[in-house]
Structure formats: structure tokens, C-alpha cells
């Protein structure tokens, strides 16, 4: 599904990702862990097509196509979803209307008719109830004045609505208390299928107790320095990230 080969990327001439290779197949869950500043969010933004970031070497293939040739909109329409570490607040844009626009953009892209507001509302209500989101969030401005936890839930709500093939969730767990984490993880698990894949970016092992990864990768200073199965996450938790800074120094 996704094939990252020796990817170097950054912005303003600063190379932050320094040769990343990663292969993700349908049905898999990959966790990417690493200390702050190691380049996790940069990788996520490069995959989602942030215009400020530039790939300077290497490549990314997605479903047999060169991902780096596509802009953010195309990538989204082709099934890539980025759950933001810091979801952007957009005052004045109605949350439910925005969700319907995004949903319909995808339907039109897939050659389907747009769904009218009433039919969409049913879908929205169902997904919101999965996440224990109150109805009032429909008529709020998009992320505007949401608490950290509400924003993260709203990201997963968007994922549930858009049903991506490949979701990259950037620190979705941070800012959530344990109950919210359980609900959000439950929502994400509901969306898993043999046809889609998940990249979970996290700083902590905690999330991985609820969403079991097939592989765990450790990112440090723009490189994957260790890969393993889910046991690696527990090892990391026990060791902390200090060993990375010392061995890499």
C-alpha cells in the first residue's frame, strides 16, 4: 500500500528526515515512536502533502502511484488521512457542514452522488455516538474553542466519516484522559479492516495497549533506528528514550 524508500525531506533547506524507509501493507498497523523533535510529525506532514515541506531525495509510492506528485487534496481523495497532532481551529466554519463537504468531495471523487444533509446527518449521528460526542459539536465552529481532547475526538470523527485507506494518526493519544483514550481507541479499532492500514505516531506506549500494532519503529533524528514487533514498545517504555540520544550522539 505504502512504500517509503530512503526519504529525505525538510523545509527551508533544513533536512529533518534523513533517509526513512518503511513498507506498510493493507491490514497492518505500524507504530512510530520516538523522542520529541525526532521528526515524527514531519513524516506525517510529508505523507499528507504539506506544501512547506519538500522531499529532497528518495521516494514514496502509494497504491502503485508516486505519492509525492500528488497535492494534499488528491492524497485525501485517494484515501490518505492525517489526524493532526495539533488540529487547526477554523472559526466560522460549521463543523457538521464541513464534515458533509469533505464527505461529499470524496463521494464525488468516487463517482457517487452527493448525500443530502438529512441522510448525511444520520451517518454523522452514528459516528458521533461511537465516540460519545455530544450533539452540540455539530453546530460549533470547526475545532474552535474545543479542548485538546475534543479536538482529538473530532479528528477521529473525521476519520470515521472519510473512511481512509491509510490513516496517519499523529499523537492522537496526547491530551486524552484514560476514558477518552479508551473511547477513541475503540473508534479507531472499529474502522480497522483487512483493506486499510494505520500508522500510529505516539510518544507513549499507552495507546498501543488499546490499538495493537503489528510493527513498532523507533524514529530518532530523522531516521528509523530500530524496528520490531509490538514487544518493542514495552522495551522502549522500560528504557526511555535516553539511550537513543546517547548512542546517537
Amino acid at each position: 500500500m505504502l512504500e517509503i524508500k530512503d526519504l529525505h525531506a525538510g523545509f527551508d533547506g533544513a533536512e529533518i528526515l534523513q533517509g526513512i524507509s518503511l513498507s506498510v501493507k493493507a491490514g497492518e498497523v505500524h507504530a512510530i515512536m520516538g523522542p520529541n523533535g525526532s521528526g515524527k510529525s514531519t513524516l506525517a506532514k510529508v505523507l499528507a502533502g504539506h506544501p512547506s515541506y519538500e522531499a529532497t531525495a528518495g521516494g514514496v509510492m502509494y497504491g502503485g502511484r508516486n505519492l509525492l506528485d500528488m497535492d494534499a487534496e488528491q492524497r485525501a481523495l485517494e484515501g490518505i488521512f492525517l489526524g493532526f497532532q495539533y488540529p487547526v481551529e477554523i472559526p466560522g466554519v460549521n463543523n457538521a457542514e464541513f464534515l458533509r463537504m469533505a464527505y461529499n468531495a470524496k463521494r464525488v471523487h468516487n463517482g457517487e452522488d452527493e448525500l443530502d444533509p438529512l441522510d448525511f446527518d444520520e451517518i454523522l449521528n452514528e459516528k458521533m455516538s461511537w465516540l460519545g460526542m455530544e450533539v452540540k459539536y455539530k453546530n460549533r465552529s470547526l475545532n474552535d474553542g474545543f479542548s485538546g481532547g475534543e479536538k482529538k475526538k473530532n479528528e477521529i470523527l473525521q476519520m470515521a466519516i472519510l473512511q481512509p485507506k491509510l490513516a496517519v494518526l499523529d499523537e492522537t493519544d496526547s491530551g486524552l484522559d484514560i476514558d477518552a483514550l479508551r473511547v477513541v481507541a475503540g473508534g479507531v479499532n472499529k474502522l480497522r479492516s483487512p483493506d486499510n492500514a494505520l500508522i500510529l505516531i505516539t510518544h507513549y506506549q499507552r495507546l498501543l495497549e488499546y490499538i495493537q500494532p503489528d510493527f513498532v519503529h523507533v524514529l530518532s533524528r530523522g531516521k528509523i533506528v530500530k524496528s520490531g514487533e509490538k514487544g518493542l514498545a514495552l522495551e522502549l517504555e522500560a528504557m526511555g528514550y535516553d539511550w537513543l540520544t546517547t548512542t546517537n550522539a
Partner: protein
């Protein structure tokens, strides 16, 4: 008056003085209007047209305007019926006062929905009232805006709209100012409307400016006098021909516990300037002014606002949202004056501008003049572009560049449109004003 030596009128002033002679000959103002018009003409001569650095016209270039060979609109042109109907807001069909080229047209107006609540009186008759006469005299003598003085110098056709004590009509009153324009050359028309809101009355007003043909300068003056406990929700909609000039001075006077909540919407044209002068004269008075402008091409729309808190316990709010594309220009020059003794005044002012092109121009001059010590006043101004992080966020959800940009720019303007108290007007603005944001 200052002791400065009065200069001979410049060329531009001479053009208008010539025009005035013709006006006095052809349509002499009747009765009580005559001395007012004469006093205003003196005021006009004293003030003169603004030079480039005039403090009231810092951001508004009038050189091109005052050099135009204007004629006065003559006859009583009747606008095309379909055009006129298209300008009447849904719900105002039976509560509309039509002015064509500044003249009140009873034959085109219909105020049957306001029967019993509204009296329409020719200004010359209204001036029989000594209080009104005093008000007008003072306004003329103290006039500081030369274009408002010009309007008063040509005072012949003003209309008084008096809303009775405790009137609370369901229907909003639309004041429709049609400029008929001309194929021949630029025409000057100068509406003068006095709105009196009686004690405890609760009314809704919409003033709309529109042009049937190009080539005109509409130079309006509105007075809104709100008596004790009166409440007015008003909107001003400027939607003129592209090459038109539209200047309007609105004077608002608020008695105790009265409220005026106003929202302006500006489509822009060659040059639009709104001068709002609000006076909160007694405790409990509250004034709000929100305005939105959406400009592109060479369009300009400018706001000049002075809010005077003349009494304690008065409140004012201002919110401006301007979106400027192309070579459009906008400015907000707004000062809140808290007079001595006006303790416990609350005032806030926020100016937000969104620039969509490098060639657009935005100027802000927020200002506070405070002569009392126990007050709470804030002001702020921002100028920004479409936020790239917001754009990226929307695009990662599959929205196109165009859709994302429209969503962001429209929502910026909508925050003001949503404060319009007339659903039919808000809907119309979302349809037509925001359409300007569609690429």
C-alpha cells in the same frame, strides 16, 4: 472659528458653487430650508474640499471626484419597474420608502404595513417643529465634513420618517435610495433622510443604495434620532454601479436607555465612504456598528467613525471585517471619544482585514480619546492573509484549493453578516455579497 484668512475658492469648489447657483435658481429651497441651505453653503466654503493630507480624508482620495463636471439630476425619472422590484427586500413590499435621485417618491413607495406607526413628512414641513429646527441649525453650524455640508447646501427634498412612540411594527422599513445615473455625464444626487424613533418604539430599518445606470455621485446624509428607550436595528447596504461615488454621513443621536444596533454591508465601487457620527447622549444608551466589505478589482470602501460617549453608563461596540482582492482599497478610521464625566463607559472596537492580493491596500486608524477615568475601552486591528495552516487542514480532508479558500473567506465575512437582524437581508448578502468571493 479659527482666525485663518479665508482663501478664494479653488477650482473644484467653484464648480460646485456654480452648480449651487443653478440649483437656487431652478429649485429654490422652500420655507425653513432656505436659511439652512444658505448656512450650509457658507460652511461648505469655509471647509473647502479636502487636500491630500486632510485628517478626515487621510485614506480617501477625492481629487478625482471633485474635478468631475457634475450636473444635478433633473426631472423625476422613474426607474424601470422590474429593476425597482428587484431592489425591494422580501418582506418590505409594503414597508418601503423609495427615493429616486434623492427625491422622495410617494408614487413608488408603499408603507401600508406601517400604517399608524409611521408618518412621512416633507422636511420643509417637519421644520415647523422648533426642536427639530434647532437640531438642524446646530448640525449645519457644527458640520466638519465638507461633503455633508455640501448635501445640506442643496437641501430641498429631504424627508422625515417619524416612528411613533411605542411603535413596534413587525415589518422592517426599507429606505431605498435609487440613483438613476445617466448616459450623458456624471450626475450628483443628495438624499437627506431624517429618522425619528419615538420613545420606547422598536423598529427595524434597512437603507439600501443602488444604481440603475452608471455615472453618478450619491452624497447622502441620514439623521437617526432615537428617543428614550427606543430601539433600532438598522442595516445599510451599499450596492452601487461600479463607477459610482457613494458618500454617506449618518448621524445617530441616542437618548437615555435607547439602543441602535447597526450593520453595514459594502459591495464597493469607484469610491465609497461612510461617515458615522454617533452620540450617546444619556445614561443607558448603547450603540453597535458592525460592517463588512468585500472588494475586488479597483473597488474602494472606507469607514470614518466617531463615537462620542457624552454620558456615563453608555456602551458601544464596533466590528469591521474587510476582504480586499485585486487593487481594492479599504480603510477604517475610527475614534471613540469618552467625554469628561462619562464614567463607566464601555467601548470596544475590532478591525479585521483579509488581504487576498499583494496589490490590495488596507489602512486602519483605531483611536481612543478618553477624558474620564473609570472606563473600559479596548481596540484592536489585524491585517492578514488566508491562513496556510487552515488551508492545509481543509485540503487534507479532500477540499480543493478553491473550495477551501472560499470556505475560509466566506466564513470571515459571515461573522458580520450573521449579526444582521433581518433574515431576508442576511440571506441576500450571503447569496450576492459573498458571491464576490467565488473565483
Amino acid at each position: 472659528m479659527s482666525g485663518s484668512v479665508k482663501e478664494a475658492p479653488g477650482q473644484a469648489e467653484s464648480l460646485f458653487l456654480e452648480l449651487h447657483k443653478k440649483f437656487i435658481k431652478d429649485t429654490p429651497p422652500s420655507g425653513g430650508l432656505r436659511p439652512l441651505a444658505e448656512a450650509a453653503l457658507k460652511r461648505f466654503e469655509t471647509l473647502g474640499f479636502p487636500h491630500r493630507k486632510h485628517e478626515m480624508y487621510t485614506f480617501v482620495g477625492t481629487q478625482d471626484l471633485v474635478a468631475q463636471p457634475f450636473t444635478l439630476s433633473g426631472g423625476d425619472p422613474t426607474p424601470d419597474g422590474d429593476f425597482l422590484r428587484s431592489q425591494i427586500l422580501p418582506g418590505c413590499e409594503k414597508s418601503v420608502v423609495v427615493l429616486v435621485d434623492g427625491r422622495y417618491r410617494a408614487d413608488l413607495s408603499d408603507t401600508s404595513a406601517l400604517a399608524g406607526d409611521l408618518a412621512i413628512v416633507h422636511l420643509a414641513e417637519a421644520l415647523a417643529d422648533s426642536d427639530l429646527q434647532k437640531y438642524f441649525k446646530q448640525v449645519v453650524d457644527e458640520e466638519n465634513d465638507v461633503f455633508a455640508a455640501l448635501n445640506a447646501a442643496f437641501l430641498t427634498e429631504g424627508v422625515q420618517l417619524a416612528l411613533k412612540q411605542k411603535a413596534a411594527p413587525e415589518a422592517p422599513l426599507q429606505i431605498l435610495c435609487v440613483s438613476s445615473g445617466s448616459a450623458a455625464g456624471p450626475v450628483l444626487n443628495q438624499p437627506r433622510v431624517l429618522i425619528q424613533v419615538g420613545p420606547l418604539a422598536e423598529v427595524k430599518l434597512i437603507t439600501s443604495f443602488c444604481g440603475e445606470r452608471p455615472n453618478y455621485f450619491v452624497n447622502a446624509t441620514m439623521d437617526i434620532l432615537v428617543e428614550e428607550g427606543g430601539q433600532v436595528a438598522c442595516s445599510q447596504v451599499q450596492r452601487d454601479a461600479l463607477d459610482a461615488w457613494n458618500f454617506c454621513k449618518t448621524r445617530i443621536s441616542l437618548a437615555s436607555d435607547s439602543r441602535c444596533f447597526s450593520v453595514g454591508a459594502y459591495y464597493g465601487s469607484r469610491l465609497v465612504r461612510h461617515h458615522c457620527d454617533a452620540r450617546l447622549k444619556a445614561p443607558g444608551a448603547e450603540f453597535a456598528l458592525n460592517a463588512v466589505s468585500v472588494l475586488g478589482g479597483q473597488e474602494q470602501a472606507h469607514q470614518f467613525v466617531r463615537i462620542h460617549h457624552e454620558a456615563p453608563h453608555t456602551t458601544s461596540h464596533q466590528l469591521f471585517k474587510n476582504i480586499v482582492d485585486g487593487k481594492g482599497r479599504t480603510s477604517v478610521d475610527g475614534t471613540v471619544i469618552v467625554c469628561a464625566g462619562a464614567q463607566l463607559t464601555h467601548s470596544d472596537q475590532l478591525i479585521n482585514n483579509l488581504m487576498l492580493s499583494d496589490e490590495a491596500r488596507v489602512d486602519n486608524k483605531p483611536n481612543l480619546m478618553i477624558f474620564a477615568d473609570d472606563v473600559k475601552c479596548t481596540h484592536g486591528a489585524t491585517v492578514g492573509q488566508v491562513d496556510p495552516d487552515q488551508m492545509f487542514y481543509l485540503k487534507t480532508r479532500g477540499l480543493s484549493e478553491k473550495t477551501a479558500k472560499e470556505l475560509l473567506t466566506k466564513s470571515f465575512a459571515e461573522s458580520v453578516i450573521d449579526t444582521v437582524r433581518f433574515p431576508a437581508l442576511a440571506a441576500e448578502l450571503k447569496r450576492s455579497l459573498l458571491k464576490k468571493l467565488e473565483a
